[in-house]
């Protein structure tokens, strides 16, 4: 081949490489840029509304000042309820899949189904709980909201528990068995202890996931404008209040929505960063 053609082909390849490199840099800048833009907007719009009143006063009627105390407390209650219901079930199911039936049929089916539940649309979960809890009982309730969130917690905890228990070296199990420890105690006292950091991470990630969930709460726990810790009645929650206030025409409601959004985001970011800090680097799931 003549040198000229070779040279032009070579410069063409270099040009393609340069273009791709520039595009890759641009794509990364774009991805990071959105994060900065969204966080910046949240700080800019939400920070001005941040005051003590936000944490001490109830949600106001339109046109007057107030805070977000009842939705904050409501969200905390619902999240706690969801974790209390979802974590034990998730850990037990994950334990079965990693310890008892690692290679059996049930585990592989559950693994598949669980992965689908993990990314299933959360609004469908809301419909499900509406059908099984709200419609039969005839009223919206905090319990229904908590259970709806628990349905989202379970797959996250199942996944991390299974992954983390699978990482526990078999020699630990063998050692436990060799000194005569029954299987159940070997799991709860040896394997759980070895996998604890990862399992806590799973719960933290689940909390981060549900603390901003709105869709499953819209028609389960609904909303409550007043102070109420009665879980058998509608309970206010931060995401639902943000939804309602942001779409309202009232300026002070909208600004409270921004403040609420800032609070949620900071909480979620803190949770996910601390969850990451718990896992040693290079082993994140």
């Amino acid at each position: 081949m003549p040198d000229k053609i070779l040279a032009s082909r070579y410069s063409g390849r270099r040009r393609n490489n340069a273009v791709a490199t520039v595009l890759a840099f641009a794509a990364t800048a774009l991805g990071l840029g959105w994060l900065v833009l969204i966080l910046g907007a949240l700080l800019w719009k939400g920070f001005s509304g941040l005051s003590v009143a936000v944490f001490t006063e109830m949600t106001p009627p339109p046109g007057s000042t107030g805070g977000l105390l009842n939705p904050i407390v409501g969200s905390l209650i619902l999240t706690t309820l969801a974790v209390l219901i979802g974590t034990p079930i998730g850990i037990l199911a994950g334990t079965y899949m990693a310890e008892y039936g690692r290679y059996d049929r049930l585990s592989s089916v559950v693994r598949f189904i669980n992965d689908i539940l993990l990314s299933a649309p959360s609004i469908v979960v809301g419909l499900f709980i509406y059908e099984v809890m709200v419609a039969p009982l005839g009223h919206f309730s905090g319990y229904a909201g908590g259970v709806a969130l628990a349905v989202i917690v379970i797959p996250v905890v199942v996944r991390t528990t299974e992954d983390m228990l699978t990482l526990v070296p078999n020699s630990l199990r063998e050692a436990a068995t060799s000194i005569g420890l029954p299987r159940s105690l070997a799991i709860t006292h040896i394997c759980y202890r070895a996998a604890r950091a990862g399992m806590v991470t799973g719960v933290l990630l689940a909390v981060a996931r549900i603390s901003g969930e709105t869709a499953p709460l819209l028609f389960t726990s609904l909303n409550n404008q007043f102070w109420s810790t009665n879980l058998n009645a509608p309970v206010s929650s931060l995401p639902v209040v943000i939804f309602q206030f942001a779409l309202s025409p009232y300026k002070d409601w909208q600004s409270l929505a921004w403040t609420g959004a800032l609070i949620i985001t900071l909480a979620v970011l803190a949770l996910s960063i601390s969850a990451r800090a718990l896992i040693p680097s290079g082993r994140q799931s």
Partner: protein, 338 residues
């Protein structure tokens, strides 16, 4: 599990000092209790695993049960009807399905190339010490709750698009014959295109983190061999890494698509909630999830509620299929990489 109470039992069971009849009896009892505890714990974990299965079947059964009235009334026509009229109790799912598919399509059109390029950057171009921070930052995007994207989209992004991108599209592509109809009409700010763009930002981290993981799993021997032949970085990714990880990349794309299809809050804010099919992607529309979120609590009458649950069922079936394909693809690449 309370170690304090259990420990003596274990000690007793393992002590082996069972010569005295009373002690031997105590030892047998202790062993029995341990055996029982073992069996109970095993069955408990099994029950929980089966519970996860029941959860999914419960979702499917309750959705089918709830959507029966509407499906019985409208039959197959529900899927292809464009009407949505709560006053005359006449419902059709087509505009919502159309909106769901089009917004997700726009989202994938943007998120997939951008996500792949970020994965290319993170695995081949980025200095080692920067990889983890940037990877985490991109994953933090995935952690931001969707309602935050919604409020940001409504108050910041939509007005911005209304003032910049949309007039630009109307004035340029809007005049091109053929595709002009896609960009016709006034710039509302909110609408199908805006929802698609927000969805693109939301699913970007999913595409990025999974493709990065499968890119990293490519044996370095393969890449080194290609570099050794004189390939440029781009050629290595294009001709070695991508073909090797094709199945995983498709899995990642399907997973992101599953997310985009089911995403609710972010879309609800910016879609405009209009039950019609417009040729223009700048016009307001609706999606399945946005319709449910907007109308469910206000739905009066059994048929209205049932029509909304039917929408939920359709959404669930679509996402289930997409996610099942995604999982299957990812499982295949995992098995291959080991």
């Amino acid at each position: 599990m309370q170690p304090a109470r259990r420990q003596p039992v274990v000690d007793m069971a393992m002590s082996g000092q069972g010569f005295v009849p009373a002690e031997a009896l105590a030892r047998t009892r202790a062993l029995d209790r341990l055996r029982l505890g073992d069996a109970v714990f095993r069955q408990l974990t099994r029950a929980a695993a089966i519970g996860v299965l029941l959860l999914l079947s419960g979702v499917i059964i309750s959705l089918i049960d709830g959507s029966l009235p509407a499906l019985r009334t409208f039959g197959f026509g529900f899927l292809v009807s464009e009407r949505w009229n709560p006053v005359t109790d006449n419902y059709g799912a087509l505009p919502a399905i159309y909106g769901t598919v089009v917004t997700s399509f726009i989202a994938m059109l943007i998120a997939v190339p951008v996500g792949l390029m970020i994965a290319f950057f993170l695995t081949e171009l980025c200095p080692q010490w920067l990889r983890r921070p940037i990877g985490i930052a991109i994953e933090l995007l995935a952690g931001i709750p969707s309602i935050i994207y919604g409020i940001w989209g409504l108050f910041i992004f939509a007005p911005f698009l209304q003032a910049t991108l949309q007039p630009f599209l109307i004035n340029t592509l809007g005049n091109v014959p053929g595709i002009g109809a896609l960009f016709a009409g006034p710039p509302y700010g909110i609408g199908i295109l805006t929802s698609g763009l927000i969805l693109a930002i939301m699913v970007l981290p999913f595409v990025t983190s999974i493709t990065r993981d499968v890119f990293e799993a490519v044996p370095s021997v393969l890449k080194e061999a290609a570099y050794g032949l004189g390939c440029t970085r781009w050629e290595v990714v294009r001709n070695v890494v991508l073909p090797y990880t094709r199945v995983g990349v498709i899995g990642a794309v399907m997973l992101a698509l599953g997310r985009a299809l089911g995403e609710t809050m972010a879309v609800t804010f910016v879609i405009g909630n209009a039950h019609r099919i417009s040729a223009s992607i700048l016009a307001p529309g609706t999606t399945i999830s946005a319709t449910i979120a907007n109308e469910f609590t206000e739905a009066v009458g059994d048929l209205y509620t049932s029509a909304l649950i039917s929408l939920g069922l359709i959404l669930f079936v679509i996402t289930f299929i997409v996610l099942a394909i995604a999982r299957y693809m990812l499982m295949r690449i995992e098995r291959r990489i080991g």
